[in-house]
Symmetry: C2
DNA sequence: CTGAAAGCGCTAACAA
DNA sequence: TTGTTAGCGCTTTCAG
């Protein structure tokens, strides 16, 4: 059977509390006793019960991490960052996949609460929700990862996606593009509005009029981004460059382009978003916006632990991580005189 | 403060045990009482304490999942599969990254034991280890994922990598290749020996003599696989096809090849292993061996839960998942007369 | 059908 | 410096 404090106590002829204190390195226990205790603890392979301790101290040294889907590289990296930090701080992390559905998110929150987690890290599915209220009511510290806005009641860490959108668009503008298409990602990923904002800002700054026909919504998968890109290309007044909103969307765009014998970046420039592993491997290698998702994980976990250490002492902070442009080969200046080009093939009238 | 059974009991003028039973849907509690209890439970937002319950029942409805690194697509999928299955069975999963180091693996096991997990899922770093002994001694059910061999004392699920290696090699042989290089992955990933075995078997079956100079070891990262591939190519009697042992190794190979102006599959055929997302996106799209890692996760979790339900009733099973060949564009019949080709460039003496 | 009481393994206030 | 005692919130005999 499992060995408990009691077993140690009996074995040593000490009281349970003395043993407990010795193990906790309480200053008022003698060196000698401590030595004996730790020794027989090791010998009998004593393992403290986190359960029992938690029941008493109300701390389980466990946190919950709710991501949208670990299967996406971003969330895997975040998860890894969190776990690494947790391991250092001696916490365990329970992982949950919300699939962007409020229902699952809610279930998991309830679940984590029953588990008595000390805090939770959450990539929220949307704006302020019941879930947040629950956490607040129960006074469980939580930090929002990649939340939609900064008016959350708790700490948060997110990437400055508006900046990212700006960066991408601005780069294209700098290259000389005027007609820049935006393939906006699914709204179930909270950052897409920010991206869009950045896009608009950059356009405004450059004095380029916004054309709504150049913006189109696409899901994250290949086929729907393929179709969205196709639609964009066959519209009247097609773009000379496409900002893809995500790297997989960019790949869908590549496909749509190659289908029409349009070359990247010769005929059309493409820029991605996220810098997932496939980006550098596409041909041409994808120019994209990169941000350190592992760091997001680390940062938010660190933040949470700080709150757990000192619930009062540290206010709520909204940390933001800056994305950066990674220039590879998929964007170039527009073809001369391509302004009115219809983009229906590579063999135009002038050759 | 937190609402407990006691609160409910007081509120209803019942005893704690009655309330407990009502909530557990004990048959000897009257309909009416149950109704009242569940109602006020909902009303007061009662949430049972898994901690307290676990202390009593010795079941925490929590399992540990130790993977090498969630950041690798394979493990992310496995994790997802496990978590999905756990969610259904109402378990929680604590995630751990061992980084293939016995030390971390050991730490996590101890850690999980202190947590009182009901079982653990483990992608082991090597053959039978102390860790397994610990789990056995403590009578914690565990199932091995992608373990090296089948003589494990517990259940296991793994991919038949020998088959995978065979499949890949055999395909190349079928195409007419005789000189097939093998870029064997790092030994910290347990399946590489199996891969190698499959390679040898396929060669034997085809009556092709094995040449050790055609086998070389490479780490998983780009640079080392790049160098390994280069070495292979500049050796005496270079291969006409390369079996890359992993998809990223295959990518490294692509690089080494393009550096020497060797085309895939025109000059050299390449076949990968694992079918991670980048595989279909490389150019040319990578022919590779695929296996369903999400399913591995599901299967192993399911197995574990079955054991937990009925510790005696179900013996140890060794489940194996079959990989399959995914033909894309990176392998083709060898160039005619390429048998003795040196592969130093594309402009050979004969044009 | 319901209640009283013991106890899971631990910590912490209070004594000695 | 060490021991005694009282729970943490729950399940589960054993009584009624």
């Amino acid at each position: 059977m499992k060995v408990t404090l009691r077993d140690l106590a009996e074995r040593l002829g000490l009281s349970i509390s003395t043993v407990s204190r010795a193990l906790a390195d309480d200053p008022r226990i003698s060196r000698e006793t401590k030595r004996q205790v730790t020794e027989t603890a090791k010998q009998l392979r004593y393992r403290p019960s986190v359960l029992a301790r938690g029941l008493k101290t109300r701390r389980t040294m466990t946190i919950g991490l709710i991501v949208i889907d670990v299967t996406y590289p971003v969330y895997a990296s975040i998860a890894r960052g969190v776990e690494d930090e947790a391991h250092i701080a001696k916490y365990n992390v329970i992982i949950c996949n919300s699939d962007s559905t409020p229902g699952k998110e809610y279930q998991y929150i309830e679940n984590l609460l029953e588990r008595g987690v000390d805090g939770v890290l959450l990539t929220p599915v949307g704006g302020p929700t019941v879930q947040w209220d629950i956490l607040e009511r129960e006074a469980i510290p939580f930090v929002l990862i990649e939340g939609d806005d900064d008016d959350s009641p708790s700490s948060s860490v997110r990437v400055d996606h508006a900046r990212g959108g700006h960066l991408a668009t601005d780069y294209l503008v700098g290259l000389g593009h005027q007609d820049i298409g935006l393939l906006c990602g699914p709204t179930s990923f909270p950052w897409n509005r920010q991206l869009y904002d950045g896009y608009r800002q950059a356009l405004d700054k450059a004095g380029i009029p916004f054309r709504s026909s150049l913006v189109i919504q696409a899901d994250l998968d290949l086929t729907s981004s393929y179709y969205a890109a196709s639609e964009l290309l066959s519209s009247a007044g097609p773009p000379t460059a496409i900002f893809a909103g995500s790297d997989v969307t960019a790949y869908g765009t590549y496909r749509a382009l190659s289908e029409r014998n349009l070359s990247v970046p010769g005929d059309i420039s493409v820029i991605g978003y996220g810098d997932i592993p496939i980006a550098r491997v596409l041909s041409p290698p994808l120019t994209t916006i990169s941000y350190d998702s592992y760091q997001i994980g680390k940062t938010s976990a660190r933040r949470l632990f700080k709150i757990l250490e000192d619930p009062e002492g540290c206010g709520t902070a909204h940390l933001v991580i800056q994305p950066e442009l990674v220039v590879r080969k998929s964007a170039a200046p527009p073809r001369k005189g391509s302004k009115g080009q219809r983009g229906k093939g590579q063999d135009g009238p002038e050759k």
